[in-house]
Symmetry: C2
Subunit: 257 residues, 2 copies
Amino acid sequence: MGGMRIGELAALVGVSTRTVRHYHHLGLLPEPVRLANGYREYRLRDAVALARIRRLTELGLSLDEIRDILADDQGRELREVLEELDADLARQQEAIAVRRARLATLLAEADLRPDSMVSPDMAAVLRDLPKAGSRIAEIDREMLVLVSNLGEPADQAQILDLMRPLTEPGMLAQGHALYERLDALADADVHDPLVGPLAADLAAHIPDEMAALMIANLNTPGAAGANWLEMLTDEMSPAQIEVFRSATLILQEQERA
Amino acid sequence: MGGMRIGELAALVGVSTRTVRHYHHLGLLPEPVRLANGYREYRLRDAVALARIRRLTELGLSLDEIRDILADDQGRELREVLEELDADLARQQEAIAVRRARLATLLAEADLRPDSMVSPDMAAVLRDLPKAGSRIAEIDREMLVLVSNLGEPADQAQILDLMRPLTEPGMLAQGHALYERLDALADADVHDPLVGPLAADLAAHIPDEMAALMIANLNTPGAAGANWLEMLTDEMSPAQIEVFRSATLILQEQERA
DNA sequence: AGAAACGTTGACGCTACGGCAAGGTCAAGC
DNA sequence: GCTTGACCTTGCCGTAGCGTCAACGTTTCT
């Protein structure tokens, strides 16, 4: 004679009572008649309706979409929504595949250093920078990591090309010495006597392509790539900035000759 | 000299300012120093940290997981989490593939009737039931749809086997006649004189396997499959229930003979 | 009769922010 | 000097689909 109560219905269809009430609240499932004590009394048709909703949710439809389908109540709408859903699922598959591919390359390189995840080439460059103690080297490191995380692959390749001459065996020791001399100017005055010689020595070690970039930026500030150079100078002391400005002028003279 | 403000940082890394503040709120990104006017002032290292967070989120890590990684700050934790993440993504791929497969079959059968999505076999059975006007047929229809939506494939196959004899060409007309006679008992008394003959005629049309199931349920109520039969009787009038009970007794007698 | 297992409504929690409100600050143009 | 517009600040509400109390009434079992 009587029907089911909410717990039986939920168990039958395999959902929680909370879910059933939620569907009532959203208007997906009509509220059944109430018994004298206020309990909801469900019939077979309610189980059918609930099971239908369940199947649609399991396909990945949102409850709003399901309500539209139920309201519209024609196969036409359903087919539209399902086709759109399939396209959406295809996109999701693609996105997941991409992420898994990136994960796979990350996991393949066992080079999971805590501070960053970078390409092998970039990792090699980073290895050649002074490990600690040099503030300027640290800035360079941060810059490189940032570019490798943000820049397009083309940008990264370009930066790597710019850096590569500096990582040749003969350069390394001299590079470290330059870093030390730059660090020594952290609190120095702009007119410190060490600035001039350091600028000259620095100019002698800058690769040609990088020199061109620095000169271009000196003459037309705000051009492409200016942000990055600006951010570098933001981190340096006035004396250190002066070293680079002076070195750039030297490079410009050399180029004219 | 100075660093960036929040808008520059956000634009540099490619997120919204809201996102940056959100990360501050969650403790993912340390709050930088404030200028005299209250503005946050960011340095290069903040951009590096933010970019790192971004990369991890794009891989699919939750912000909580990222905070754990940043706190623990060792490649070990990172590797663990990434491997777990990969496994999770694999599961998601599998789930999506399953859903797309089901969608494909649904879309392939152009049989998207508004009231349900069932297997072709089940659709054939449903087609043979009286379309409208018969309450009992409607109950049967609901029952079948429910089973096809909820039951395991094995259950569905069994139900289909039970129903198949009833859908043979010769049976259809008689079945419809039986439905009509059952419907006529909707408001009848249990002792209505039509009950006896209808029970006899009904018994003559029940397939053997279904008869066995009905008999078993009569003798040991609450056994497997009892829910479904109980739900059927829930929807019927006392006289209709009596017809089935009586028919089951007749079948039991026949079996003993 | 008391406890366990149901039922009722209502409200907060979760993710990763988006959007809006209601203001304060700053550079540029009139 | 004043307006305009583009920034910045904090804070709160909304999202999807329920899970999980809370606080309380009902039924059922022992």
